[in-house]
Amino acid sequence: MAFPYSIKSAVRSLIKEKWINILSILTVASSLLIITLTSFTLYNLELATSRLPERFSMIVYLKTGISKEETQTIINNLKNRPEIDNIKYISKETALKELKQKLKDAPYILEGLDENPLASSIELKLKKNFVTESNVNIISKMLKNIHGVDDVYYGEKIAETIHLLKRSVENISIIILLSIAAGVVFVTYSTVKILFYRKKDEIEIFKLLGATGGFIRTPFIIEGSAIGFFGGVLSIIGALIFYFAITYRLSAVIPILKNLVFPLEFLIALPVIGIFLGIVGSLIAIGRLRL
């Protein structure tokens, strides 16, 4: 088996060409750190936006003068709908009481009111996965068609923004991740290509002695994966520094940062991603050998 020799040969080359290899490792480490920070941002935004639909509600205003029985029928009808998570009935008296509570600093606004102008209403919370612009429109139309319903109010823009925000962040993150991954591949590609050309005479001798493509390629692939691996390990160190800087230093000044979640499982994947991208870069660099 020539594999031990390939490892020995790759290690020898890593040491002999140390400066170009160190430079590549640092570049790969920086790139993987950007990947980590992007994933971290994406993860936290996903967490934040996943909580937004929980706050979304629709208000169904009932016509004035409908009976208690009719109101109960509407409530029962809504309770049975699959898209509705929970409902809360607000009578016109409760609504006025809440309004007065809200306006307690300016009670003169409500002075002179002879009768309660507010309508009874039902507050609906939708299930998380139904909070999309199109779903909310459909549900709104359905509610308006129910006998006894006067009008439906909901934050149309909120539903749309939640979706738009999520989609934009996802798209931008994917573009960043792919660009950086392509960058890592390019760095290992360039390094391995340079090393390959530097060893061109040596490789010619290998070929004349009967070496196969695999024998010649393996040390370069090992070297590329080593660059990716060490880049990954260095980026773990960078990510940990970032994590501790946020958790212990910056959060003292900006308390909201305390809510950020940093999944440490991400870090374990970094050397593996580094090795994978390093191998891809090396394979492209060496290509097909003409024997």
Binding site: A2, E202, I205, L208, L209, G210, A211, L291
Partner: protein, 220 residues
């Protein structure tokens, strides 16, 4: 063992070898001679497929080179030990590693490499230089390392291109004697040389090339 049938080789419009026919049997030692530019090196390169023939058929052992798949070229080369005019040693490897390389490309285990590599170096009287690097050796010593690398895997055929070209007469005689000893053990050897002293009185086949044509076959 080695058969050339109507073999021609051209570089662009220039004819390097034209209609070459010869046969060398297993265990034979033969010489290819002629002036510089006669096509000696190209003829050897055609045998280990560093160059491909443009016309004709070449057979080396069980390999039919004209129809040989690219994936089998390493197998052909492993059955041949080549000694190059410019030695082709790897300067950043020790003498031992240069010789061992021939075994490593064949996928031989590291533990099975040490003994044959040292044996080969012993045959060329360079066992004591195993840990040196090529640039620390004289031209003659480097040539002997190249021979050790060629013989270490006990190939069926050894090709040597001007093996004494850069050497003084005494060293050349030593190298010549070494090839004869290897041949006695049954290895087929072809040597391309313009040094007539190498084959004079040897009793071996000598093919004479001139301007790409095989102009004669004699016994040295």
């Amino acid at each position: 063992m080695i058969k050339f049938k109507n073999v021609s080789k051209f570089f662009d419009s220039q004819t390097v070898l034209r209609n070459i026919n010869f046969y060398i049997d297993r265990g034979e030692m033969a010489f290819v001679t002629g002036p510089s530019g006669a096509g000696k090196s190209t003829l050897l390169k055609l045998i280990y497929l560093d160059e491909w023939p443009d016309e004709g058929e070449i057979t080396v052992g069980d390999f039919h080179l004209t129809s040989l798949k690219l994936s089998r070229v390493p197998l052909l080369r492993r059955s041949i030990g080549a000694v190059f005019q410019d030695f082709k040693l790897i300067n950043n490897l020790t003498i031992f590693d240069n010789v061992a390389l021939s075994l490593r490309v064949r996928g031989i285990n590291e533990k099975d490499i040490k003994t044959p590599a040292h044996e080969a170096l012993k045959k060329v009287h360079l066992r004591h230089k195993a840990e040196d690097y090529p640039q620390m050796l004289s031209g003659g010593e480097q040539q002997r390392v190249a021979i050790a690398r060629a013989i270490v895997a006990e190939p069926m055929l050894i090709l040597a291109d001007e093996p004494t070209g850069n050497l003084d007469p005494n060293t050349a005689t030593g190298i010549s004697r070494l090839f004869r000893e290897i041949n006695i053990q049954g290895t087929t050897i072809i040597i391309a040389t313009h040094n007539r002293d190498l084959f004079k009185g040897s009793g071996k086949k000598v093919f004479q090339l001139d301007a790409g044509h095989l102009i004669g076959e004699e016994v040295g």
